[in-house]
Symmetry: C2
Subunit: 430 residues, 2 copies
């Protein structure tokens, strides 16, 4: 891996290079995606069956779009027993963590007859998108469904593209069933997002769409935002390790590669105050890459978006970490919890040398759907928050309104909204 | 106001009619908005100064784009003393309510050395958009700035279009100053949104953009979503009153008009189980409209989007209320708190006959920036939540990782991610 002195200029260049990967920069696909969305809005089932034939090579119709109980049973027979066991163990942890995110309605009252509060309600219908293709990530199915379930969403539907044989991957089906999905539809791509946003004869309209996908899926989600809610738009995976001279170079190298293997667009960055560590990590990386099964993807990812940055001071290193706002951040310093207090921007923070990133991907409990591409500056991990919404509660008695009603009339009149003023005044007209 | 029997068909037609007002349906403006955004991204200050000249007729440059302390002082001299007093009173209530929305970091630990948690961090920089034009809403300035301030946002900047004389409305300036804004820039429209999203020489790039605006502003916000965060996209204002035979028709009529006066696209709907009330409200509305200063806007709004719906039962009425998911909902029934328990979808719920909607606009404390156009099914009122974000915290000791590390390796291998498996295995290689 290349080792670079962390200067202001280097930081700016790296940031620019990373942001190139943003799904916002793919304007060229937008026309195509909008066309798909309009077609699905107009022709509904007919459009999604047609796209599924063209893009996935599968014959899907109103009779077979919904995954049946028999298909799920078949999936349980096919899936590795060991995977099922580990899915169930992971589910316990994921549920336990997300249950702590529950939010509650509250109110506050005053004796004159004022009640002010906030009512928390779960969304009613949610759609989870699960990508198809060769890479099958049952963990991602769990991470998207569990928070909706914990929030109390009444209906959770899933869409995923079928294979040519019209089947869905068994591990995906088993994970969805274990997590508590209500229905699974065989449709993928931008057409699935459009179907969930507007509804078709077969696919129900939902209130929110979550889940990762390719560039078509990401752009379709952005296009339907406002008609429905969406989670944040996922970009390629990222890991950043902030380490000092106390870090174990072998651990750091292995962790960097764990994200680099996802995708040629994935990014793996070490920021360290130790030139020694930088060189050892670079050497360890070389050693590992040669042995790993996804070595070609890893090598491309490292060449494109992999960096080892040597900083003059820990403050400078931390400033860069906050500026890049990585999806995953490992802190491997002498006092990692102290370092953590200085971190403003990161999707998930892994504290200490045994807190390896894949622990969070599969098992620990926190969600692995995290803000990417610098969006950790303003977005949060997927959570129960994503599946609830709030309503303000306002209640005043006559006794409470009377002493302040003239203030409200005053304010309304300053804004030249006389019907507003009238609606207050009418209550005290005699 | 027209009185309609609430049938399934009527409900569907009304819903369709209301959704026509969605800012998502204005595809024709998108090209123009994208052009403005691209121009501001490329030419920065030069582009925004040029647009401000063309659209607002004002000469703005790097020297005068920032509102000065002198201009603010001048605004305080110009503004009505009574308005300042009522702004200060309202601020006390708004702050008090929003302080209750604060969220806190938490963690949970296990003795084997596991720490899992969630760190809450305020966004660093936020941009508040304030529309210009004839209608001046200092209340809206307060409602957008206070939650950011309470959340702990470090820098809150505001943009608003200047008048031809290069000045900003004094009430806007005073409200912004009282609420605690850090800087105010004289730029409006889609060009202001682009400037806040990407930064120019004069206007800083922010993490999130909030605030209402015309169709250009709404579409620009949607276009920059992902580069920055945005609040929900505001549509025209709405009020729905759910009332039974116990309601005072004069109060109900006045409240319906308080929203109808906002805009020809605003919607005012009464749903009632009482035909008697329906007729009395319709009559009262006629009486009021004749006297109100904004009667032309009100009449158009009522003709386009005003309805009195007579339902056969309270259950049917409530189902319609939940389906339409209004921005503002007043409950004027015999037992309004019991009715409230059945409401799933509404931006703000005003409970009881003295809880008139304008009380919430100006004074009570809850935010008046609310989801419109059916989006209360999945969006929430603007709140402190909008100005914070979360990071997961994951920390495992060696002792905690050892008993489960083979499960993680197993899961990773099932997903064919061997570098993930390696990063766990490397920690136990001897």
């Amino acid at each position: 891996m290349r080792i670079i002195e962390l200067t202001e200029e280097a930081r700016t260049n790296i940031l620019e290079n990373l942001l190139k990967r943003s799904p916002n920069s793919y304007g060229e696909f937008e026309g195509r995606v909008n066309e798909i969305i309009e077609n699905v809005r107009a022709n509904r089932d007919a459009a999604i069956f047609d796209y599924t034939k063209r893009f996935d090579g599968a014959d899907i119709n109103a009779e077979n779009i919904l995954v049946t109980e028999d298909e799920i049973k078949e999936a349980y027979e096919k899936v590795d027993e060991k995977l099922l066991t580990v899915i169930r163990k992971a589910l316990v942890n994921i549920r336990k963590y997300h249950e702590k995110q529950r939010q509650y309605s509250w109110f506050d009252s005053e004796e004159s007859g004022i009640i002010l509060g906030q009512k928390v309600t779960a969304l009613e219908k949610v759609g989870v998108y699960v990508p198809g293709g060769k890479a099958v990530y049952p963990s991602s199915v769990l991470m998207n469904i569990v928070p909706a379930k914990v929030a109390g969403v009444k209906t959770i539907v899933m869409t995923t593209p079928p294979g040519k044989d019209g089947k869905v991957n068994p591990a995906t089906l088993v994970a969805a069933k274990e997590a508590g999905v209500d229905a699974i539809y065989k449709v993928g791509g931008a057409q699935a997002i459009a179907a969930l946003a507007f509804g078709t004869e077969s696919v129900p309209k939902v209130d929110k769409i979550v889940g990762p996908g390719n560039i078509y899926v990401a752009l379709a989600k952005k296009a339907v935002f406002g008609f429905v809610s969406i989670d944040s738009i996922a970009g390629p995976s990222e890991i950043m390790v902030l380490a000092d001279e106390t870090a174990n170079p072998r651990f750091v190298a292995a962790d960097l590669l764990s994200q680099a293997e996802h995708d040629e667009m994935a990014s793996a960055i070490l920021v360290t105050t130790s030139r020694d560590l930088a060189e050892q990590v670079s050497k360890e990386v070389e050693g590992f890459v040669a042995q790993l099964s996804r070595k070609e993807i890893i090598q491309k990812s490292l060449d494109n978006y992999g960096y080892i940055l040597v900083a003059e001071s820990m403050d400078e290193a931390i400033a860069t970490v906050n500026e890049i706002a990585s999806e995953h951040l490992e802190l491997v310093t002498n006092n990692p919890f102290e370092t953590m207090t200085k971190i403003r921007n990161a999707g998930a923070i892994f504290v200490g040398e045994y807190s390896s990133e894949p622990l969070g991907d599969y098992f620990a409990g926190p969600n692995h759907v995290l803000p990417t591409n610098g969006t950790a500056k303003f977005f949060s991990p997927l959570s129960v928050d994503d599946f609830i919404k709030k309503s303000s509660i306002i209640s005043y008695s006559r006794e409470a309104l009377e002493p302040i009603y003239k203030d409200i009339v005053q304010f309304a009149e300053c804004e030249q909204l006389t019907a507003h003023a009238n609606s207050i005044r009418v209550r005290f007209e005699d």
